[in-house]
């Protein structure tokens, strides 16, 4: 089963990392990703640009375009992984491994209902 691991973190905090700290975290995360790739379990991975670059379309009638992310929260959606796991325990294991590389914040683990690999070339 595919699980989406949604990454929530305080953007001010991750934005306060020095370039070196950021690179160190990314490198540790890459180790986890490499392992999953070798096992043929890693789907799309995305790190989103800061929420300041976000725009929200509220589907009212007529739809309204608003600046900023959908939810104004202390922690923001900053990225996601799609991982193939047998069950929730396995998905939690992956999240724990990712969490060890990237302290603070939270991961929301959500089973994926429909998945299209898409056609975008990297």
């Amino acid at each position: 089963m595919l699980y989406a691991i949604l990454c929530y973190h305080d953007e001010d905090f991750t934005g306060s990392w020095t370039k070196e700290q950021d690179a160190a975290v990314m490198q540790k995360l890459a180790v986890v990703q490499d392992k999953l790739t070798k096992q043929g379990r890693l789907g799309p991975v995305a790190r989103l640009l800061p929420t300041t670059s976000a725009t929200t379309l509220r589907k009212e009638n007529p739809p309204v375009v608003l600046d900023g992310p959908y939810a104004e929260t202390k922690e923001q959606l900053l990225g996601f992984y799609v991982v193939d796991c047998r069950n929730l325990d396995e998905a939690l294991d992956v999240a724990r491994e990712l969490g060890a590389a990237n302290p603070g914040g939270a991961y929301e683990i959500r089973p994926v209902g429909m998945f299209t690999p898409g056609s975008v070339a990297k």
């Binding site: 305080d10 953007e11 001010d12 905090f13 934005g15 306060s16 990392w17 370039k19 700290q21 160190a24 975290v25 640009l49 800061p50 929420t51 300041t52 670059s53 725009t55 375009v65 608003l66 600046d67 900023g68 104004e72 202390k74 302290p103 603070g104």
Partner: protein, 423 residues
């Protein structure tokens, strides 16, 4: 990341909100800073043991306030405590902290006020910047001194003076009205741009030391934009800083000499920053409320979008500078526009455009550099040499001087074979 590195990052990110809120309570910058300092010390002790709080800023505000109030109490310990002392019990503090967290508009004005204090018109630009970096960003005096290329003692003195002047000034603490908020916002935006320029106008040998200024300016711009999500000019400012800073890796060659835009290795440009900058300028344009930062960002975006220098849409850049001239008439803007004009209509038209600026820019390095380049393109080499000599005399960094010397060398090379033929 180690515990300490983690805590450092958490303290840095919570700082503007926490110091801003503490300033609102105490109405005194020194007290607010000291309270934050004390709270940070407690965080260093408590967080590794008890784990980080969910909302570090709220934690720091609460602890900072309690420590400061305790100190006031201790200094008056001979006097009996007032009857209504219950008001500062832990329970109400915790409740206050929650209220604090929920009231986003409050903390928005807190941070804006903190930034605005640094923009006091009596303070020279360099003091404004130093003060903001110390108070809002929390850089150490040593870090700031290094970025400004001055001694730590000199920087310490500069910041102390700036603080004293700010302390004497009347800073309104009530919630600002809409007009006042807009005024504050534009003063703060200008100050953030100054921080960036201070870092950007470096030479190859100092670029590394000054880069933190650019990064800090971007962090502050993003912070401001997060507080004012639909301000098109703040989007423009953030985009402008990102698009300019994206070129930083290509701006100097191995010897530290300045590399002009046309000659830069574009594969070294930071594509992630460019993507963010382009996204922001895209968003800003939708508001149809143009402004100087957006126009400058749009110009930077046209450069960023050109994979090769010859792909640059100079005609559009000429138009954008024209719009900027109307909004912010300045000889420097006209000078920049002339560079675009030289690409679209040739060096003669560009030269004619800058001739009237000579008097006002008679001490401006770039004027003579650009004028020399136009003259060189027209084959008026002797006049070009005079302009370049003047530019070298006015250069403020070694990179600027080295760059002009390169032009002079080229003139020499170009004129030699011709001279040989004449013989």
């Amino acid at each position: 990341m180690t515990d300490t590195a983690w805590i450092d990052a958490a303290l840095t990110s919570a700082r503007p909100q926490a110091v801003g809120a503490l300033l609102r309570y105490f109405r005194n910058l020194d007290t607010a800073e000291e309270a934050f300092q004390n709270a940070s010390l407690r965080a260093l002790k408590s967080w590794p043991q008890n784990g980080p709080p969910r909302d570090p800023a709220a934690w720091l505000i609460m602890v900072g306030r309690n420590v400061a109030i305790d100190e006031v109490r201790r200094s008056r310990k001979q006097q009996p405590l007032p009857e209504d002392d219950q008001s500062i019990s832990d329970l109400s503090d915790a409740e206050d902290a929650i209220a604090e967290r929920l009231d986003g508009s409050h903390y928005r004005d807190d941070i804006l006020r903190l930034l605005f204090i640094c923009c006091h018109p009596d303070l020279p630009a360099t003091q404004q910047i130093a003060l903001a970096l110390r108070i809002v960003s929390g850089l150490t005096v040593k870090q700031i001194a290094r970025a400004f290329l001055v001694s730590e003692a000199a920087m310490e003195q500069r910041i102390t003076r700036a603080k004293a002047r700010v302390a004497d000034a009347d800073v309104p603490f009530e919630t600002p009205g809409a007009v006042e908020r807009t005024e504050r916002l534009s003063a703060v935006a200008a100050m953030i741009y100054l921080i960036f320029n201070e870092g950007y106008s470096s030479s190859g040998d100092t670029a590394e030391a000054r880069a933190p200024l650019c990064e800090e300016a971007i962090r502050l711009a993003r912070l401001l934009l997060r507080l004012f999500q639909s301000e098109a000019e703040i989007m423009g400012l953030t985009a402008l800083l990102l698009l300019q800073h994206a070129r930083a890796p290509a701006r100097f060659d191995a010897a530290g000499a300045l590399v002009l835009l046309d000659d830069q290795d574009r594969s070294q440009w930071n594509q992630k920053m460019i993507a963010e900058g382009l996204a922001l300028i895209d968003k800003a344009m939708r508001h149809r409320r143009s402004g100087p930062y957006q126009i400058q960002a749009a110009i930077a975006a046209l450069h960023a979008r050109a994979a090769k220098p010859e792909d640059t849409d100079w005609a559009q850049i000429d138009l954008l500078y024209g719009a900027l001239e109307l909004m912010q008439p300045s000889p420097v803007v006209t000078l920049n526009r002339a560079v675009a004009v030289s690409k679209v209509r040739g060096p003669q038209a560009a030269l004619e455009m800058i001739e009237p600026l000579g008097e006002r820019l008679s001490n401006y390095f770039h004027f003579f550099g650009v004028r020399g380049a136009f003259l060189m393109q027209l084959g008026r080499n002797d006049e070009a040499r005079v302009a370049f000599d003047r530019a070298i005399a006015l250069a403020t960094t070694s990179a600027e001087a080295a760059h002009i010397r390169m032009h002079l060398d080229r003139l020499m090379r170009d004129s030699q074979p011709r001279g040989a033929k004449a013989k």
